[in-house]
Symmetry: C2
Subunit: 230 residues, 2 copies
C-alpha cells in the first residue's frame, strides 16, 4: 500500500469495521484508536477528523496526480497524460480491494462521507482542467472544452470505479478504465484539439458528396477533401 503507513492502514480498517457494525455516528475516535491498538493522539497524528479516517489518502494522491501531470511528455496528447493520472487515482482503490469495497458500502449509507468523496473528486477535476488549460495555451475559447473534458474523464473514472466496487472489487478495472477513456477520447478528443468549431465559415460555397451507404469513413474524408479542394 504505497504512501500509507501501517498504523494508518490499521486505523482505517478498524474504523470501517466499527462504522459498519455500530454505525458511523455511534462510533467515537477513542473506540477506533482502541480497536487499532494505538493512543487517541496517534489517531490525530494521522487524521484530522473521524471522516478522514475512512478515506483513501486523497491529499497524497492529489500530489502524485499533480506530479504525474507536471512530468508528462508535452508531445503526447493532453488526454493521454490525464489518463495516466486517472489510473493513479484508481490504483488507490485497487491497491486494497477489500477495504475499498467496505468503504464504498459505508459511503452509500452516510451522507457526510458521500459529500466528502464528492469534494475530493472535484479536486482531481480541477487539477485536470488546469493541466488541459496549460496544454491548450490558456486560450479563452479552449476553456470550455478543457473543462468539459476534465468532467468527462472524472465521470468515466467514477463510473468504472463504482461498477467495480458494486461487483465486489473483482476483475481488471484498469483495463475497463482504459476502454472508457478511449470512448471519451473518441468523442471529445477532436473538440479538445481545437478541430471542432461548429461555427459556419464565412465562405458559403456548397460541397455535395454522394456515396454509397457503407463507404468506409477514410474514403468519405478523402472524397470530401478532394471536392472541397476542387
Amino acid at each position: 500500500m504505497p504512501g500509507q503507513s501501517r498504523v494508518r492502514h490499521d486505523l482505517t480498517a478498524a474504523a470501517v469495521e466499527l462504522f459498519l457494525r455500530k454505525g458511523y455516528d455511534e462510533t467515537t475516535v477513542d473506540e477506533i484508536a482502541e480497536a487499532a491498538g494505538v493512543a487517541r493522539r496517534t489517531f490525530f497524528r494521522h487524521f484530522r477528523t473521524k471522516e478522514d479516517v475512512v478515506f483513501p489518502d486523497h491529499d497524497d494522491c492529489l500530489k502524485r496526480v499533480e506530479q504525474s501531470l507536471a512530468d508528462a511528455d508535452p508531445t503526447q496528447p493532453p488526454l493521454a497524460a490525464v489518463a495516466v493520472a486517472t489510473h493513479l487515482v484508481l490504483a488507490m482503490y485497487t491497491d486494497d480491494p477489500d477495504a475499498s469495497v467496505q468503504r464504498y458500502e459505508l459511503t452509500r449509507h452516510v451522507t457526510a462521507l458521500r459529500d466528502r468523496e464528492l469534494i475530493a473528486t472535484s479536486q482531481y477535476q480541477r487539477v485536470f482542467t488546469s493541466y488541459l488549460n496549460r496544454r491548450s495555451g490558456g486560450q479563452p475559447h479552449t476553456r470550455l472544452p478543457d473543462e468539459v473534458a476534465a468532467a468527462a474523464v472524472v465521470a468515466a473514472h467514477n463510473h468504472v470505479l463504482r461498477q467495480w466496487l458494486r461487483d465486489g472489487g473483482k476483475d481488471d478495472v484498469h483495463a475497463e478504465l482504459d476502454r472508457a477513456l478511449a470512448a471519451v477520447d473518441a468523442s471529445l478528443g477532436p473538440w479538445l484539439a481545437g478541430r471542432p468549431s461548429s461555427e459556419p465559415t464565412t465562405d458559403d460555397q456548397v460541397v455535395v458528396v454522394i456515396m454509397r451507404r457503407g463507404t468506409p469513413m477514410w474514403r468519405v474524408v478523402q472524397e470530401v477533401e478532394t471536392a472541397a479542394a476542387g
Copy 2:
C-alpha cells in the same frame, strides 16, 4: 423571483451583505434576522442553517428540473430535454444578477459554501444521468455515455455561469449556455445516440451529404455517420 418569498429574499440579501462586510464566521443568525427586520424564528422558518441562507433555493429548483424532465417530449433528443432543464438552473442565478454576483464573491472565499454549491451541483448531475438512463432504456452499455454526458452538461453550465458571474452578471448568459450545450451535443450526441462506431454498414443505399465548403472534417464525419445511421 419565482418560488422565493419576499422575506426569504430580504434575509438572503442581508446575510450576503453581512458576510461580505463582517466575514462569514463572524456573522450570527440573529444579526441576519435583525438586519432583515424579522425575528430569529422567522429565519429558521425559511432556512435550516446559516449556509442555506446564501444559496439559491436548490431544493425547489431540483423539483422544477425533475418536473421538466418528467414532462419532456419523449420524441425530442434526450440532450435537448436536459438543455431545457439546465436553463431552469441558470435562471435561478439570472433572475437576480446582483445577488448572484455577491453570492459568488462569497463562495470564492468560504470553503464551506463552495463545498455546498458543489454538492448541490452533483444533485442536478445525478438527476440528468438518471433521465438519460431512462431515455436510453437502462441498457448497461449506455450508462457510461449517459453519465459522461450529464457531467459534460453540468460542466458546460458551470463554465458559462462562472464566466458570467466573473464578468459581473452582464450579457445574455442563456444564449451563451445554448452555444456551449450545442458544442457538447456535437461532441457527445452521437455517442449518446449509440452511433459512435464508424463501422461501415452492409446496406448499399446512397447517402447524399451537402455541406458548406470549409466545414471542419470532424463535422463532416459526424454528418455522414448520422446520415448513414438514419
